[in-house]
Amino acid sequence: MEELINQLKEQIIEALNLEDMTPADIDADAPLFGEGLGLDSIDALELIVLMEREYGIKLGNPAEGKKIFSSVASIADYVSKNRKK
């Protein structure tokens, strides 16, 4: 799981162009939206594309997405259980 969390951090930094940030700067349990990284709705769309492109996961339910994207750790948990590639 630790390896997947680090991989996700790197992918998020690249996809969202989080300049000057390293995986070590992201707390896996910190909120991604609002507080923490302070991501916005466009970032949410980018994360949905990232999930499908990298792990073959299609997210259709917005309510589900809110829970999955609450932190890097929650994304890693969902990916580990639902990944298609």
Binding site: E19, D20, I42, V49
Partner: protein, 271 residues
């Protein structure tokens, strides 16, 4: 009829913009190169004008955010129209530049983008000039932004084999126009004319009738925004040689179109 003055300006040529001077890293992270240059020149022009929020934002761009457009179209082809990045979609429209500037400035005024090839900037300038002279607005941020990608350089080289791909220039410029002059050497935009497929005699006559001390000829074969680049050169010359010349005419040839912009040194009182 009001007069229209250029009260400040900022130009960049083939260089990166230090956009973090004006926006936070969070605001800058999604900006592509052309947006950073546009924001930098716009904020520089605003800072020098002393105006925080303009009445209007009017932008000229021939090709818009070309780099992002190429990436977006490439993704469409490679990914079978799936998994497209929303940021690239948002930033591949021509009016992204003016709207992004408006959002950052919280400017809810008139926001317009002109895409008219090599006379895009002159078209934007003409809009601002008409509105200021008519008293519709008191000031306007007028910009001109384009970028060259490797693919565009190759296409331009095919059209102009005499110019090496690396010799094509890209320009980004922003000016504050206002109905009130600023500084001790104010420059008035006296005339703005765009001629399409002009008869050579009619063009010569139009240039002669402008009665200018000096003529700046520019050609969009070399530079993406030659009309704006011509204005930058004319402003510098007029400011530096205010004791010797009173007016300058910028003549830009862009395909079948020719734009004429006459700048005149005015008195500081605007009278």
């Amino acid at each position: 009829m009001n007069k229209c003055y250029i009260i400040s300006g900022s130009c960049l040529h083939d260089e990166e913009a230090d956009v973090r001077k004006y926006v936070t890293p969070g605001e800058a992270r999604r900006m592509c190169r052309i947006l950073k240059r546009a924001v930098y020149t716009s904020f520089e022009a605003l800072r020098h004008s002393g105006i925080e929020c303009p009445d209007a934002i009017i932008t000229g761009t021939a090709m818009g955010c070309m780099e992002n457009s190429e990436k977006f179209l490439t993704d469409i082809c490679r990914n079978g129209e799936q998994l497209l990045k929303p940021t690239l979609f948002m930033q591949s429209t021509h009016n992204t530049i003016a709207s992004m500037t408006g959002i950052l400035l919280k400017c809810h005024g008139y926001n317009m983008t002109y895409s008219q090839g090599g006379v895009s900037f002159t078209s934007a300038l003409l809009d601002a000039w008409l509105q200021i002279r008519a008293g519709e607005i008191n000031n306007a941020l007028v910009g001109c932004h384009d970028e060259l990608t490797d693919a565009i350089r190759k296409i331009r080289h095919a059209a102009h084999p005499e110019i090496a791909p690396s010799d094509f220039r890209e320009a980004s410029a922003a000016f504050m126009l206002a109905s009130e002059p600023l500084g001790d050497k104010p420059i008035e935009v006296e005339k703005v004319i765009i001629l399409h497929s002009p008869d050579p005699k009619k063009l010569e006559s139009a240039i002669t009738s402008m009665n200018s001390n000096v003529i700046f000829n520019s050609d969009d074969s070399y530079c993406t925004d030659a009309d704006a680049e011509g204005i930058c050169s004319a402003l510098e010359t007029l400011s530096a040689q205010a004791n010797y010349m009173e007016s300058a005419l910028v003549v830009t040839r862009a395909g079948n179109s020719v734009s004429l912009i006459k700048l005149t040194l005015a008195s500081p009182c605007g009278c």
